[in-house]
Symmetry: C2
Subunit: 269 residues, 2 copies
């Protein structure tokens, strides 16, 4: 049985204390370097595989300091503070001794408490009633996802008219199907194409500089989700002086909020 | 002329390359340790004062690994990657050699581009028409801010009834007045009391574990804002298994989006 392309892409080999080696995957190639979601997944994977890890991911921030070059890299994941039920991590990805990613993560042993979803899943048609886009994706990594846009697809025409809003709603799952885990949920938090493209209908150079994921799902919610589609939503907030940000949410089909996410993105115009 | 309490609280003394000493300030005391917003301001202050800094803050993530003990601490701010127009920082705050805060920041030389505010300021009465709360704050740091709640104040009664929503809108500025800068904007991004208190009308133990700020304002927008009030808005998204998150925005009175922010908060219940 051959390995799933996502598992192959995020695989890490131990290289000593707090250090792993990974490599970029042609299957997840973007315009320049790999899909940032896979890089973020590799960063959290260093934490997930660490023998001293306490609990499950609660928060992850990944800063993209430089485009990764094709080839190997080191992931350095260090537990810098371990409390009774929480643990704080610093993570770096290095190539040829240069920092290409900085990151921080928090893991925690979580206990059942009162719970609610205030950011409720919007009412949308089920995934199999939403067609997949007809066009052929321009970059390789998009082929690794089953994407079904309900609102705010990639513009069909780049006419540069301000569309007034930059909200996308889409169904997403791995292609081929793969049971959801913390690494793939992290990658899917970066599934949204640049809000600047949507707001301006302009195909401008853009790249995420920092992404944060808050994990609302634990192992139980991941298992319940299995290989089902996630509903992703993202909307821009402020655009100016070369950067915009967006906030987003990911729910499973049952309406469970699995993760919230934000990112700030460089753009040229 | 005596120093403003916020300037006194965030003051840092150089202690060698990449290292500064600061101290907690009784004027910003919280229930346990200092107001997290001041700690975040101290973290970004290490970056702001660094002789190698390139540009202005774009993103900051601060992780609260432990409550700060009253007294001195070290801020270690390192530029780990400097590109042509962006710079990536790792920051730590240490007490007695132990990590109490981890952080990352991005600074950048920003250039004028197409701009818009998609997260528009809601229509609210002007600050001087909104009364200040009648009660006496239970913690010292709250006295350092002029807070005027338009929606979602601290509940008057802790009756434990689910209120169905956790949105707060408030006017805020330093008390006494102080011209806005990146450090005070960072602190004000943490002005929102725990959304769990509002959603559940329950006074439960709660503490921020990670906060991110995206800076939409540059020096020009800070100057335009001056000592004016900011409108802050925050709303919870998901609550469960001991953690909730919120997303928020800060505008000046002219409706300029100065910063967006989000945080994940531990709670006990």
């Amino acid at each position: 049985m051959s390995q799933h392309p996502f598992d192959a892409a995020i695989a890490l080999q131990a290289r000593g204390e707090d250090r792993w080696q990974g490599a970029t995957s042609p299957a997840f190639a973007n315009f320049i370097g790999p899909f940032g979601g896979v890089t973020a997944a590799q960063a959290i994977n260093g934490v997930l595989q660490h023998p001293q890890r306490l609990g499950e991911p609660v928060a992850l921030t990944v800063n993209f300091a430089a485009a990764l070059a094709d080839g190997p890299f080191d992931v350095i994941a260090r537990p810098v503070r371990t409390n009774r039920s929480t643990q704080h991590w610093t993570v770096a990805i290095e190539q040829q001794g240069q920092t290409v990613v900085t990151a921080t993560a928090i893991t925690a042993v979580r206990r059942a408490t009162w719970q609610t979803v205030e950011a409720r899943m919007p009412e949308v048609p089920p995934p199999l009633e939403v067609p997949r886009p007809a066009g052929k994706p321009g970059v390789e990594w998009v082929h690794r996802y089953d994407l079904r846009f309900i609102e705010g697809p990639v513009p069909a025409a780049w006419d540069g008219k301000d569309t007034g809003a930059s909200r996308t709603r889409l169904w997403v799952r791995d292609a081929p199907e793969r049971p959801l885990d913390f690494a793939s949920l992290t990658a899917m938090a970066d599934i949204f194409f640049p809000r600047m493209w949507l707001r301006r209908a302009a195909f401008v150079p853009a790249g995420t500089v920092s992404m944060t994921v808050y994990f609302h799902a634990g192992e139980a919610q991941l298992r319940e989700t299995g290989t089902g589609h996630l509903l992703g939503q993202a909307q821009g907030q402020g655009f100016g002086a070369g950067y915009f940000d967006h906030g987003g949410q990911l729910w499973n089909q049952a309406g469970t909020l699995l993760a919230t996410t934000h990112q700030v993105v460089y753009y040229k115009e």
